[in-house]
Every structure is written in structure tokens, then in C-alpha cells.
Symmetry: C2
Subunit: 350 residues, 2 copies
């Protein structure tokens, strides 16, 4: 990958989206010098897609993403498009399906240094990853109906859909602490029972990995009371949506968390886990760390350059420790100040 | 209700169930002396139902419940019945449907005194109630299928099902801080869109009540970061299952929380929110407070005796403050010691 020119589709999106994307790209540029060759193709997406092309996922944007090696997305949506016939979020659901991004991967970590930001009293360091199924389940199942008397959504899964995302989780566990917890509601749902069957078959392929199950309600409690006991959490789309946001919250530092959504081949998509924060847009105080960390995640996972990712990660840690952080982390720095500080650290390391 | 003899169906259930039920009934007896006339009908339910009658909800148990003024349930389920053809939890789902208990009500409170038990650093007192729809949605929708290739669950709601539980939430808000937050996933689900339509109509009937919406993923975050901002949370069955357990966890005192499940008429069911705790069963150390608080909730809501409930509540508070608590709350007292202490407090107050 490093010999050719890497193609990256860039989707700045809405509100603070372009502000943090600018930061992410500046750091990518700094860390890449003489090291990593890439070209970016910037495209409108979400609200920006609606405004510029009448569609949250314009055809040209989708084409660019499909032809890329990786997609960087900042954040989309906001009150401006509340009454749009197709809302920005529809673009997100659509690009996930079009690129077949069936596995969403979200790290949750609370290091010693970050513990002061956590709203949780607990003391043990936390470090787990949620692998959320992203292109099926109740998000996409048919029938989906609404009329004056009733409405229906359908949670549907096939064995193939479960198996491929389960493999992602077990592969990930092999590189981590070899523990997968599958979260479901098998005491109620038929789909959860299918998940149990399929995932226990996959688990048998990974005898080194400890495999256990948790009901979703119990998992929602353990994420608060004993988050240190998780390594990899595997779950279906809707449960993953809820639990991954809950997990992010226990870190107290939403503004720093990146995510990856991937398929089997084709480009993966990297994005901060937070939204477009209309309330602080334009003030220059958005935390750029989640975007910068998304860039690092991309360098590791798509471009196999963990060395460059490490330079970013260490520089980010240094800057957090120096207290040079945005207001959401209790600091007074601007987006640009944080970004420049990180770039300086990267240069110092050279 | 106080002139006749109140009929209470008692379901001790499994593992610690009978231990805490004994405590609850002892407190009920102590507080009732010369004040409240009742008779109890004890019936097997859950695992005990399977063992004694081959069914988690035996016909005689259901008949007793239907003929009662209120049902007291302790806790059911456990590993013993993992492979039963009909598991204990099925009995729970079935009794909810048979008694038409469409609204599940769960208080979440962190008072100044209880804050030390909370795993959350936050400082403001928390006091909200979750009103969870309990007899529809994905728990009961058809089709529900599983075969070798796929599985399906159906989330279905009618306008009537939504309206009746919404009214419970708004009535409750009128007696509290006049604020209802409806939690849904309206950016994805058709059923959530029906909920928004119906609930905003109901909200219009209560102009004094502030009404707002939250997506379920955002709500899972706010329950940790800003729980003090909620008064009444209204939500559908599955979201309510997850969020109410998450909410219980932020109090750090699961072993104290009661719940009520009710319909329009007919008996309501009162029970602790925790499970049957097989790991501590038989040791005499189960926390009886959730069961005792369930008795108080029953006295208030079914029998209109808030005066008796107050005697219980104040005695419970006194005993907690004195540190005479079970190991789950950091104490060394046994179930019986805590129960006796509460009964003594009740007698002292007379
Ligand atoms: C915007 C919404 C449709 C989306 C989801 O629920 O998947 C978001 O919450 C997320 O987690 O990426
Ligand atoms: C046991 C289970 C079926 C039940 C539910 O999900 O409703 C329980 O978790 C509850 O909340 O009462």
C-alpha cells in the first residue's frame, strides 16, 4: 500500500465536522512527510450533501468512497435538516450498506491519566472494544411499516451475517486479551438465539479465546459497575448502538474517541463517535482529538502504518498530559492550538 | 379497600426469592397490626412452578393472581432451569400479558445519604422514574421465527398500546416535577415514529408538563452524565429493559429498588428489580430492602395507605443510616438482622 498513492475520501460533513476534519488532515500531513503518499478527495455528505446536491449521499460522493482505500468522515446532521425529506442520517445508513461496512469497531479505554475525566468512581483501568454489527438487524429489516393504527419494525439476521462479524470479534480478541463477551437478549429474542448458535460455532474455531454471554440489560449494568472485565464485546446493531454510546460516556472524554467501520474488502470508514455539535460550531473550540485519533486508526488498520499511528498517539498523549486541551476536557485551548501542539510534538520526535 | 380484607398473592420464586419474601411479609405484618387487614395466598412461580407443577406459571398461580388485589413477587430463575423446555422467565412474560400489566414503573433515586453507594462521581441528587411499556413491542410481536439460516423478531406497536402507557407517564409527571422525556430511536425505527405521533398528542392533553425526546443512545449517555435532568422517562419495552437496569446501576444499590407493573384495572404486581442471585442463596445475607420497599410501594399504590408505606420508608432510611446493612451495601448484617431492625423501628414509631 505504501508504494502506491493511497486514496482517501474525505467527508467533512456538518457544523463542527469541517473544523475537526481540518485538524485531522493537518496532522495526517505532518506525520506523512516523506513517509506516506496519499491524495485526498473531499466530498459533500450528510447535511452538506443535501445543501449542495439535494441528497445526503450524493452519487459522486459514493463513487469516490467506493474507489478509495479509506474514507475519513467527521460528523453529520443537525437541526437545520430536521424536516428534510431525506435526513442526513439516512446518508450514513446508506453508505454503511453500500460499502458493506458490517463491523463497527469502537475502543473504550480509561487509562490512569484519563481517569480524572471519567464520571465513574472506579479505579481499575478500562480497555475494551465493542464490535457492533452495522448493516443488518432492526435497522434494515423488512417489513418496516407505519400507518394510523400501528407500526412495525423487523429485526432479522442470517447466519452468514452473524458469522462474518463474529469472526471480526474473535480475530480482534486474538490480538488482545483473548476474551469475547457476546451481548444479546436470548431469554426473549429468536434472533439472539440464532446469534448464540452461530457464535458458539465460531468460538469453537478459537479455542484460545474465552467466550461468554451476557444479556443486554446485565451488560448495561456491568459497563458501569465492572467495565474492566470486558475485552471484546460482540453484539447486534441496535444493542451495539446503545452500549457503545454508554461505554463512551464512562470515559468522560467523548471528544477523543475514534471508530472504524469495515467490511471484508473494500475501504473502511473512520470517524469520531460523537455528533456534529451544532451548539459549539464556528467557535473554534471543538475537540479535534477524536478526528486525529481516527486518522491514526486509519493509518494502522487500512495502511498498515502503526509506526505513524504511534507518532500521533504519543503526541496526543503528551498534549493531553500538558493540559493543552479544549473546554470539553476542562481546558481553554482552541481547536487550532491543540492541533498545532500535536504537530509540534510530531516534529520534535523526528 | 381498607374495610374489606385485602387479597395478596405471594410468589416467593427461586433462590434468594423466598428469603427476601419472608422479610417483606414480616415487615408487612408489623406495619399492618390493627391498621390493615389482609390475607395472603402463596403460590409457586418461576423455577418453583416448574419444580412443583411442571410450569413456570401454573394455572392455580395465575388464578390466584387474577383474583387478588395485588401480587407480590420476589425473584425467579437460575441455572437449574437453563435447559427447561419452558424457562422461568417465560412465566414472567406470561403473567405480564395475562394480567395486562402494560406499564412497568421503576424509581431511580440517589439521595444525599445514598450517594456513597453510587459508582458515579456526580454530586446532584437524582430522582426519576422510568415508565416502560411491558406487554408489547419486540417481546411479543409476531412473526418470531428461527431456522438454520435466519431468525426474525418483530417490534410492533398499536396507537392504543402507546397511548395508554403514555397516559400513565403523564399522570405520574403531574404528581412529580411535570417533565416527561420520551426515549426512542426515531431516526431509524418506524415504531418510534408512531410513538412520537401518539405521545405528542397525549402531551397536548397535559399542557403543564414539559415534554421532550431523546434518542436511546443519547439517553444511555445522559443517564450517566446528567441523570438529575430526568423526571419521568417514557419508553418502549426493550429500551426500557436496558435503560432501567442501567439506571438502577448508577444508584449502586440494586438491592434496595422496588418496581410496580400495572394495567388499567385488576391487580398490580410489585417486585424487586434484581434477580434471584443463586450465588448468595441460602447464606442468609440477601438484602431484603428491595422486597420491603416493594411492600411499601404496594401499600401506597394499590391499597392507598401511604401512611403505612411512610412508616416503612422512614424505618428503612433509619436502618440504612445506622449502617446496619447487608454485605452488598458494605455492611455485615444478615437478612434477618436488617429485617428485625426495621420492624423494631416501626414499633418504636408507634
Ligand atoms: C445516526 C444514527 C442512525 C447512528 C446509528 O444509530 O447507527 C448513530 O447513532 C451511530 O451510532 O452511528
Ligand atoms: C427476565 C426478562 C425476560 C425480563 C425482561 O427483559 O423483561 C427482565 O430483564 C426484566 O426486566 O424484568
Amino acid at each position: 500500500m505504501t508504494s502506491q498513492i493511497a486514496k482517501i475520501t474525505v467527508l467533512p460533513g456538518d457544523y463542527i465536522g469541517p473544523e475537526i476534519m481540518k485538524a485531522g488532515l493537518a496532522v495526517l500531513k505532518a506525520v506523512s512527510e516523506d513517509e506516506f503518499n496519499y491524495q485526498i478527495d473531499e466530498q459533500p455528505f450528510g447535511g452538506a450533501g443535501i445543501d449542495q446536491k439535494g441528497d445526503p449521499l450524493p452519487q459522486a460522493t459514493l463513487d469516490s468512497a467506493k474507489n478509495s482505500d479509506a474514507v475519513l468522515l467527521a460528523a453529520i446532521g443537525g437541526p437545520k435538516w430536521d424536516d428534510a425529506p431525506k435526513r442526513p442520517e439516512k446518508g450514513l445508513l446508506q453508505i454503511r450498506q453500500e460499502l458493506n461496512l458490517f463491523a463497527n469497531i469502537r475502543p473504550t479505554a480509561i487509562s490512569q491519566a484519563m481517569q480524572k475525566y471519567s464520571p465513574i468512581k472506579q479505579v481499575e483501568p478500562v480497555d475494551f472494544v465493542i464490535v457492533r454489527e452495522l448493516t443488518s438487524g432492526i435497522y434494515f429489516g423488512k417489513p418496516r411499516e407505519i400507518d394510523d393504527h400501528h407500526a412495525i419494525d423487523t429485526m432479522r439476521y442470517t447466519t452468514d451475517e452473524i458469522r462474518r462479524v463474529a469472526r471480526v470479534a474473535f480475530e480482534m480478541a486474538m490480538k488482545r486479551n483473548k476474551h469475547v463477551t457476546m451481548v444479546d437478549k436470548a431469554n426473549v429474542l429468536a434472533t439472539s438465539n440464532l446469534w448464540r448458535r452461530v457464535v458458539s460455532d465460531v468460538a469453537a474455531e478459537y479455542p484460545e479465546v474465552r467466550y461468554d454471554n451476557s444479556y443486554v440489560d446485565a451488560a448495561a449494568m456491568k459497563i458501569i459497575s465492572a467495565p474492566e472485565q470486558f475485552d471484546v464485546i460482540l453484539t447486534e446493531n441496535m444493542f451495539g448502538d446503545i452500549l457503545s454510546d454508554e461505554s463512551a460516556e464512562i470515559t468522560g472524554s467523548l471528544g477523543t474517541i475514534p471508530s472504524m467501520s469495515r467490511g471484508t474488502d473494500g475501504p473502511a470508514l473512520y470517524e469520531p463517535i460523537h455528533g456534529s455539535a451544532p451548539d459549539i460550531a464556528g467557535k473554534g473550540i471543538a475537540n479535534p482529538l477524536s478526528m486525529i485519533n481516527s486518522v491514526a486508526m486509519m493509518l494502522t488498520h487500512t495502511f498498515d502504518r502503526p509506526d505513524l499511528a504511534d507518532q500521533i498517539n504519543q503526541s496526543v498523549d503528551d498534549v493531553i498530559e500538558s493540559g493543552n486541551v479544549t473546554p470539553d476536557l476542562g481546558g481553554t485551548a482552541s481547536t487550532t492550538e491543540v492541533t498545532d501542539a500535536i504537530i509540534n510534538k510530531i516534529r520534535e520526535r523526528r
